[in-house]
C-alpha cells in the first residue's frame, strides 16, 4: 500500500483506525512528532504557495513556527479527553492516532494552493469558486469529515464505547474551540463586536 495513513483514513475512517489502533500500541513520541511535522510542513507549504505562488523556504518555515499553536491546542485537548475516557492509552499513542486523521484539511490546503499555483488567472478562479459556493462547500466538507475521523479515532482507534465516543468527541471540540475563543476573549476581540461596552 503506497497511500499514507491520512489518505487511507479518508476512505475508511473506522476500519483503518481500528487497524491503526491495534498497531499503535507501540507508538513512539517520534512517530507522533513526525505526523505533527508533516502537518506543519503542509501548512507551511500551503501558506507559502497561497501567498507567493511559490515554495519559498523562509515563508514556509516562518509559517510552521507561527502556526505551532494549532497542534499545541489540539494536543492539549485530545490528551485531556484521552485522560478522562481512555486511561490505558499512552500519550504518544493518542497523539500518533489523532495526528493521522488530518487528511481532509491536508487535501483542502492542497486544492487551495493548486488554485494559485497552476491556473493562469488564479484570482478570477478563486472568486468564481467562492461565488458558486464550491470553496465554502469544500471547507464544510473538510470540517464534517474531520469530525467523522475524530469519532472513528475515539471509537475504533482507542476502543471507546458509543456513549463515551460521543462524549469524548463533544468534549474535544469544546476544549479545542474553547482555547481559541479564550485567546480572542483575552484580547478583547470578541466582546466589543457583541455590543459589550
Amino acid at each position: 500500500m503506497f497511500w499514507s495513513d491520512d489518505m487511507a483514513l479518508l476512505r475508511h475512517p473506522f476500519g483503518r483506525y481500528g487497524a491503526l489502533g491495534a498497531a499503535a500500541a507501540s507508538s513512539s513520541w517520534r512517530s507522533a512528532g513526525l505526523r505533527i511535522g508533516r502537518l506543519m510542513l503542509t501548512l507551511g507549504l500551503f501558506v507559502s504557495i497561497s501567498t507567493t505562488g511559490r515554495v519559498v523556504p523562509s515563508q514556509a518555515a516562518g509559517t510552521m513556527v507561527a502556526w505551532l499553536f494549532t497542534p499545541l491546542v489540539q494536543s492539549l485537548a485530545v490528551l485531556f479527553v484521552a485522560r478522562v475516557f481512555g486511561r490505558d492509552a499512552s500519550r504518544a499513542r493518542v497523539l500518533d492516532l489523532y495526528f493521522a486523521g488530518h487528511g481532509p484539511w491536508l487535501v483542502l490546503m492542497w486544492i487551495a494552493a493548486g488554485i494559485v499555483a497552476v491556473p493562469p488567472h488564479p484570482t478570477s478562479i478563486f472568486f468564481f469558486l467562492l461565488a458558486k459556493g464550491i470553496l465554502p462547500g469544500l471547507l464544510l466538507g473538510a470540517f464534517v469529515w474531520g469530525v467523522v475521523l475524530n469519532v472513528a479515532m475515539f471509537r475504533t482507534g482507542l476502543g471507546l464505547s458509543r456513549g463515551k465516543t460521543a462524549l469524548a468527541t463533544a468534549l474535544f471540540y469544546l476544549l479545542f474551540v474553547g482555547q481559541v475563543v479564550a485567546y480572542y476573549l483575552f484580547n478583547d476581540a470578541i466582546q466589543p463586536q457583541l455590543g459589550m461596552r
Binding site: F2, L41, R54, V55, G62, T63, A66, V116, N187
Partner: protein
Amino acid sequence: MSRLRYVAIGLLGLGVLGGLAYDSPSPRRVVRRAGYRVLEADFHVHTRFSDGFLSPFDVVLHARRNGLDAFAVTEHNLVYPAKMSRWFSRLIGGPTVVVGEEITTDRFHLIALGVEDRVSPYGELGPIVDAVHQEGGVAIAAHPVKRFWPSFDAELAKLDGAEVMHPLALTARGGREGVGWRWEEMRDFTTRATQDGRHFTAIGSSDYHFFNGLGVMRTLVFAKDDSEAAILQALREHRTVVRDLAGNYYGDDTLVAELKEHPITDTDQDENGAERGYRPRSPLDRLTRIAGWLGMFAMFAFSRRKGPGCAK
C-alpha cells in the same frame, strides 16, 4: 524509504529551487511630486495574531515583495503584533511600518495609526477618537459601509479620514456584493464627507488577511521622507491621493492636479493587481511552482514506510 517518497522530495526540491530563484523583493524607486516623496502604502494589514495567515515578520517580507514603501499592521484591538513587525522591518531594512490598531466594535471599525499603546475598544466613537489623538495618532474610518454611517456621521468632525478604496471594489466590479458590504457605500461616505470643502485623508487599503493581496489597494502618501513620523504628519495634513479602478482620484485637490499633470504610471496598484502578484516570471518559474505543488501532495499522500509505530 519508498520510491514515491523520493519522487515527493524531488518535486518539492524543484519547488524550493524555484522559490529561491524567483522570489525577490520588488525594486523600489524614489518618486517625487509637488516637493514631496510619494510613498506607496497600505494602512490596513492583519497577521496571525488575529485573523490573518502570516506572522508579523512574514508580512514585512511580503510587503517588500509586493513593492510597498510603507504599511501599517492593524490588528483587531491589539498593537503588539504591529510593534513586532516594526522591530523586524527595522532590523532587515524593510518598508516603514506604522504601528496601528483596528478598533473593532459592532457599530464601527476604526483604524488608529501611530498609536503606541492599545486604545480600548469599549465606549462610543467620539471618546475613542479622542484617545487616538491624545496618543498622537490618526483616526481613519475603516471600510465605512452604510451600517457604520450612524457612528461615523455623528463624529465626522473628529475623524481624520476614511478608507475609500478597499478590495470590496473588486467584488463590486464583478457584480457581486461581497458579504453585504458595498464598495459604493464607502465611496459615497467620503464624497459626502468632503462635500462642504472639509479636508479628509483619503485612504486605499487592502484589509489584508491572507493570500497575495497585500497592497492590492494602496494609498499614495506625499511625505517629506519615508519615516514613520513623516508619514503620520502627511496623514494628519491630508496629503494623500487614492485612485479607484475607473481611474477617478480622491484626496487633496492640489496633489490630484499634480498627479494628473505628472502621472505616476507604474504604481503597483492596477485593476489586475491581485492577478499580477501571482504571475510567473518565466515558463521555468511556472514549472517549478507546479512541481512544488505536486510535491506538497506527495509529501502527505504517500506512505513514508508502513504505518504508525514503524518509525521508532
